[in-house]
Amino acid sequence: MLTKKGGSMKNPLTGFISPLIFGTFLLFSPFPRYQEASQAKDIVAKVDELYRADTSSALVEMDIITPHWQRTLKMNVWSEGKDNTFIRILEPKKEQGIATLRIKNEMWNYLPKTNKVMKIPPSMMMSSWMGSDFTNDDLVKEFTFLESYHFEMITIDNPEKGVLYIKCTPKEGLPIVWGYITVAVQEKDYMPLWQKYYDEKGNLIREMIFKEIKTFGKRDIPTVLELIPKNKEGNKTVLRYLEAQFDLQLERGIFTLRNLRKRL
């Protein structure tokens, strides 16, 4: 009988956690290696490998731009395998000290202002990846890009010099909303330039742009990721990796509840 006000039930950390987690996942989640004949798949595999690591630690900045506000968050992110993630916000001051811990299917937030640890219920955990410019594909267990798509080299109108284009079409029956994804990489080193996500009718829904390749340790990776939704006016998210280390020896006790409460 009554209409529910206030919009859908999103986890409020939506605005920054989900693009963050997605970005982290994208950068540091372990994908299985694959031996494949086709060049397309090779290229994608290489891109995949760019972001594989058993452990990682990074200093990250994120700009979130919406029609109503703009913010920039700065945070530390640690990850171990694909199950453990720890994030602590450093800036802005209002959110300084807020931390999130994820172990497998459980997630907790720490809020220094109230000095409370909140457990996120499983239902909200799903929603925590919602509502931002990113989808909820991130947090599901058996997600593997390489296994889920067919790959083929394509040519586009007005191709750029020295750039290869790949079309990724999802295999039928898999839980993917996209009709297809096109990826552009540099021919010389297979560095990703952009990814475009289309629905089944061929409408461009969102675009991810990779910029500013830098060297962190032994890797060269694009350190700036821009995600631009094409169906929502005035929204954009930019992820910037200021520092990053891979396959490092992490301190013990990072992925614990006690660590959540630690004041900076």
Binding site: P12, H68, R71, T114, S123
Partner: protein, 405 residues
């Protein structure tokens, strides 16, 4: 003129017949008046209870807020709206509200909620908010970081009065809104589904949490009489003259409830038709009998030279005067009864509790149509029914009728 005098004299001459005929008209009239007053009153009672009590009769929002709610679709010019509402006399009270979604936690348990920021005094005046708080107490006039949770929510969280409750949400500036409150009350609104997700804060606390100072999402307005709702809605709209805002009556924002009530209204219409028919038949009956048996009289009149046309007029006049007199007298009685029932109502059994209020009395209503419909019925039926015998009386041979018993 002569006819009129004769009509009056005839009426007062035959006391018993007049009384019986008049009584049948009057009693039928009065009962019909009470019936309509009661059914209208009951219908409006039910609507008032289920909408005015929580949602309000009229609501004001930013345009498109109802179809697609959004934190950012706020009403910002509160003071101007207050002024306008103040000037409309049919508006009884109004109250501002703020909405958002969030996640709360008490101890180990957490749950998704709808955050509702209210002005305690205004909300109580408009929807009896304080009566819905079944445990603890309602908000004090000034904000004090207290929270009131719905009954179901308290159960899910295993929360009690004085427990600390944390909330996390997204503020209007994009920052993470989070704060700590103390549970000061538990609320039962009558709607179990919403009680499972309702988290009330003092409006100022909510505005602070969500960085929405001076802004709200909704104004709920309560009107003195349900029949004024559509007029007042238009009035507010024209006085506000703001294309950014929309003003809606309960039929729009409580559409499913409205549809349910529509069903009942149709049923009541049928009953009204039945009542009207019965009253008409009753009047028919007595008028017919009283006119028919006076055929001898009319025969006499014709014998002394009265024209047939005048006989018809005489009959009709008598009946009409009687009807009017009965209606006038009946109006006094009927109005009296309806007024009494509209203020005192009828108490039924032990009643039931809903939304913190106990309902054991139903009220009638005083309105125009409760007088108009019965009056028209009585007048029409008595006039129509006397046409036949009056024609017959006018046409018959004087000798014939005078020989009749």
């Amino acid at each position: 003129m002569l006819l009129l005098k004769m009509a009056f004299r005839n009426i007062f001459r035959q006391k018993r017949r007049t009384i019986l005929t008049g009584l049948s008209m009057m009693v039928g009239f009065v009962l019909a008046v009470i019936f309509i007053g009661w059914s209208d009153g009951a219908y409006n009672n039910i609507i008032k209870t289920f909408t005015g009590d929580r949602l309000g009769h009229i609501q004001i929002h930013k345009k498109t807020y109802l179809e697609r709610p959004s934190l950012y679709k706020t009403i910002d010019n509160l003071s101007r709206i207050n002024e306008i509402l103040h000037q409309i006399k049919e508006v009884q009270s109004w109250t501002p509200r703020l909405f958002s979604a969030g996640l709360v936690s008490v101890g180990e348990k957490s749950a998704g909620v709808q955050i509702i920021g209210i002005d305690p005094e205004k909300e109580t005046m408009t929807t009896h908010f304080d009566k819905k708080v079944i445990e603890g107490h309602s908000f004090s006039p000034s904000p004090s970081h207290g929270a009131i949770v719905g009954k179901g929510l308290a159960e899910i969280l295993d929360a009690k009065i004085d427990d600390e409750i944390v909330i996390i949400s997204q503020a209007a500036d994009g920052s993470i809104a989070n704060d700590l409150y103390t549970i000061i009350g538990i609320l039962s609104s009558g709607n179990d589904v919403s009680d499972r997700i309702s988290f009330y804060l003092h409006l100022k606390d909510a505005q602070e949490l969500l960085v929405l100072d001076g802004r709200i999402h909704e104004i709920a307005v309560s009107v003195d009489k349900l029949s004024h709702v559509s007029r007042v809605t238009k009035l507010i709209e024209s006085n506000l003259d703001d294309p950014e805002l929309e003003v809606e009556p309960w039929q729009v924002f409580a559409k499913s409830f409205y549809q349910a009530m529509q069903a009942d209204k149709q049923g009541m219409w049928i009953m009204l038709v039945i009542i009207v028919a019965i009253v008409a038949v009753g009047v028919l009956n007595t008028v017919l009998m009283s006119v028919l048996e006076r055929r001898r009289e009319y025969g006499l009149l014709k014998a002394v030279g009265t024209k047939p046309r005048e006989i018809i007029k005489l009959v009709l006049l008598e009946v009409t005067i009687l009807a009017v007199l009965s209606i006038l007298l009946g109006t006094v009685l009927g109005l009296g009864a309806n007024s009494f029932l509209s203020t005192h109502g009828i108490k039924f059994g032990q009643g039931f509790t809903y939304g913190g209020m106990t309902f054991d009395t139903m009220y009638s209503e005083v309105n125009t149509r409760s007088l108009l419909i019965p009056a028209v019925t009585v007048l029409l039926s008595s006039t129509l029914v006397s046409l036949y015998p009056s024609f017959k009386a006018a046409r018959t041979e004087p000798a014939k009728t005078m020989r009749m018993q």
